[in-house]
């Protein structure tokens, strides 16, 4: 009992120490610090976006069609007279949540498939990896579009499609790590004391490879936001009247020579969010996975 308590205390101290180190390294990097502040603002908009919008983001007004930038409409209005600022603020929630959900989906499936393949090897490994090869045999956005074609249009389906497309990324990382960690002494020791396979995978091996997965997931959120915006841009994602950055960009294309501001602001929103996640990902990589710092 005492040994277990001591081990727990030691683990807690170790985690606190590691967390402090990570925060220190992230904060030390200026770009990561700025991106962290930007992301906090984005999270604030995600939570309180509905209260911040000056107008109803879906309310159409025939008298306000294609208004230019003014005090009343900071970013102008669109072809239905809807306030673009309000729509961008309302769409923040959708885009950020879509990025996170996509990553959670591919993360969960990637871990299970990668761990199973790496731990059991043999036929099951070949089967899973050939399936991953099949998923990788099409460029990701084309695969996502093909899946959307099978599932139909819609925001939830776009999340599912992007999630499926990104599964191999996580599965490969987990499989590789498990293959190399499997021979370690601590895994052999767990086996000797009769631990179950699931315990060895999830409690012994995964905590040791989680850092590279967290880094990949942070960078994956920005990829997923970009892909979701691309699908929205092509008219396959969120359907009207819901506000979504990619969809707003896609619709503004028809008027881009006359009203370029309508295409400009949704793009800026996507760019800033993706850039913030990318810089945070870089900072986290420096902190968690120093070996890959050079890339």
């Amino acid at each position: 009992m005492k040994i277990e308590e001591n081990t727990n205390n030691y683990a807690k101290i170790n985690v606190n120490f590691k967390l402090k180190e990570i925060v220190k390294t992230v904060v030390k990097n200026k770009m990561s610090l700025i991106s962290l502040v930007v992301l906090m603002i984005i999270v604030f908009i995600v939570i309180f976006g509905n209260f911040l919008t000056p107008y109803n983001p879906t309310e159409q007004s025939r008298t306000q069609i294609h208004q230019k930038i003014s005090i009343n409409h900071w970013f102008g209005t669109d072809e239905h007279g809807r306030d673009i600022l309000s729509r961008i603020l309302a769409a923040t929630k959708l885009s950020v949540i879509s990025g996170i959900l996509c990553v959670l989906f591919s993360f969960a499936f990637g871990i299970v498939l990668g761990a199973t393949a790496g731990y059991y090897e043999g036929k099951i490994d070949s089967l899973i990896m050939r399936f991953m090869d099949i998923l990788l045999s099409l460029p990701s956005i084309l695969l996502a579009i093909t899946i959307m074609c099978i599932l139909g249009r819609g925001f939830e389906k776009a999340i599912l499609a992007i999630g499926i497309v990104n599964i191999p990324d996580y599965a490969m990382i987990v499989r590789g790590s498990i293959l190399s960690e499997k021979q370690s002494d601590y895994v052999q020791a767990s086996r000797v004391i009769g631990a179950k396979d699931s315990y060895i995978i999830f409690k012994s091996i995964l905590p040791n490879v989680i850092s590279s997965l967290i880094v990949r997931a942070t960078l994956g959120i920005s990829d997923a936001i970009l892909s979701a915006a691309a699908i929205g841009f092509l008219g396959l994602g969120a359907q009207p009247p819901v506000a979504e950055w990619g969809d707003m960009l896609g619709r503004s294309r028809s008027y881009m020579f006359i009203y370029p501001h309508e295409a400009f602001f949704p793009g800026v929103a996507i760019f800033i969010t993706v850039l913030a996640f990318n810089f945070l990902g870089d900072g986290l990589r420096d902190a968690l996975d120093p070996k890959s710092r050079e890339i």
Binding site: D133, L142, M148, I150, R253, L275, E294
Partner: protein
């Protein structure tokens, strides 16, 4: 080496057939009955007429028989007909595929050259101002949405200043005789230099849009690879012998830093094929990306199936070439395989 290549080819065929089968089955199981939709048996068709429409296309057969029939037809060069336009898909593909490959290849060549130059410049001046600026812009390049950047380019160069065209592949006043399908070659073969210049002008904006993020990827990979090699003892030895810095860089560093960059070339080519969907739809570039998008919006399944099949062939083939080139460039891979085979 031969065994290694044969293994890779076998794997490529398995992946190709697997992905084709998966898309084939999913399209037939999860999508609505094509006889009901546009291009089907007709809006007011009776159930018998629908059945006859399906029978004529072999859609009532078991899936495995449909698939083997499809593969047999594909091998003979028959990709079927579009439900929507009733056009021959193989003919459309032969017109569209070279156009997409052309755009992807131009973007690939330019982005790899620029990316490698930036990467080498950043690595040789590590942590200096040049390095930081290069890396900062590469982060921006990776975060910019391609389609937004393309729209901004169109607005600026075509909408405001009318310097470059905003769409299509050559000005409509030129007719290009098709020999190879590649406009670059066809305009030169037919000695239609005005059309050639027009093609180059039309190529500029789509290429820049497509290569943006790729330059960032190439510069990062090259930088990391060069930095890795710069730390090696043989580079230090060469430098300590007093060999000229640029000579060391070209003969010792670049030669050894190349293999990882070569792998990325293949990956980027595949990415360009995907990115083409967005870029082609913005610039009205008549390639397979636009073809797939139109087919998706119209639920034109034979076209979707054929496009997926062709892109998969291109991807698998590119990966195969990259695997082989990597083995040729990096003797350690060949050596490891020989050892493993013993």
């Amino acid at each position: 080496m031969v065994k290694y290549i044969l293994q890779r080819i076998l794997l490529a065929i398995i992946v190709l057939l697997g992905s084709c089968f998966l898309v084939f089955v999913l399209l037939r199981v999860f999508t609505p009955d094509p006889s009901v939709g546009e291009g089907g048996a007709g809006k007011y068709a009776t159930s018998e007429q629908r059945k006859a429409w399906r029978d004529a296309r072999g859609l009532n057969e078991p899936l495995i028989i449909q698939f083997t029939d499809y593969i047999k037809k594909v091998v003979t060069g028959d990709l079927g007909k579009s439900y929507k336009t009733r056009a021959n898909i193989a003919k459309e593909m032969s017109d569209r595929l070279p156009v997409t490959i052309e755009l992807a290849l131009f973007s690939l060549i330019l982005s790899s050259v620029f990316g490698m130059l930036i990467g080498v410049a950043a690595a040789t001046k590590k942590d200096a101002f040049t390095d930081r600026i290069c890396m900062f812009f590469s982060s921006i390049g990776m975060s910019l949405p391609t389609f937004w950047f393309a729209i901004l380019l169109v607005d600026f160069f075509a909408g405001r200043f009318h310097i470059l065209p905003s769409g299509d592949i050559v000005d409509s006043c030129y007719t290009v005789e098709k020999t190879t399908g590649f406009y670059f070659a066809d305009t030169l073969i037919s000695q239609n230099y005005k059309a050639f210049l027009s093609f180059l002008r039309h190529l500029i904006l789509p290429t820049i849009s497509l290569m943006l993020s790729s330059v960032a990827v190439f510069s990062r990979i090259t930088r990391s690879s060069v930095l890795d090699v710069l730390k090696k003892d043989y580079v230090k030895t060469a430098k300590s012998k007093g060999i000229n810095e640029s000579k060391v860089l070209i003969h010792h560093v670049l030669k050894n830093a190349l293999p990882p960059v070569v792998t990325v070339i293949g990956l980027q080519f595949v990415t360009f094929l995907g990115g083409a969907v967005l870029i082609e739809s913005i610039f009205s570039w008549p390639g397979i990306g636009k073809y797939l998008l139109d087919a998706t919006l119209n639920s034109d399944f034979p076209v979707i199936q054929a496009t997926v099949f062709m892109v998969t062939i291109l991807t698998v083939f590119t990966n195969l070439i990259m695997d082989i080139m990597y083995a040729i460039l990096d003797p350690r891979i060949r050596f490891c395989r020989k050892e493993a085979n013993r």
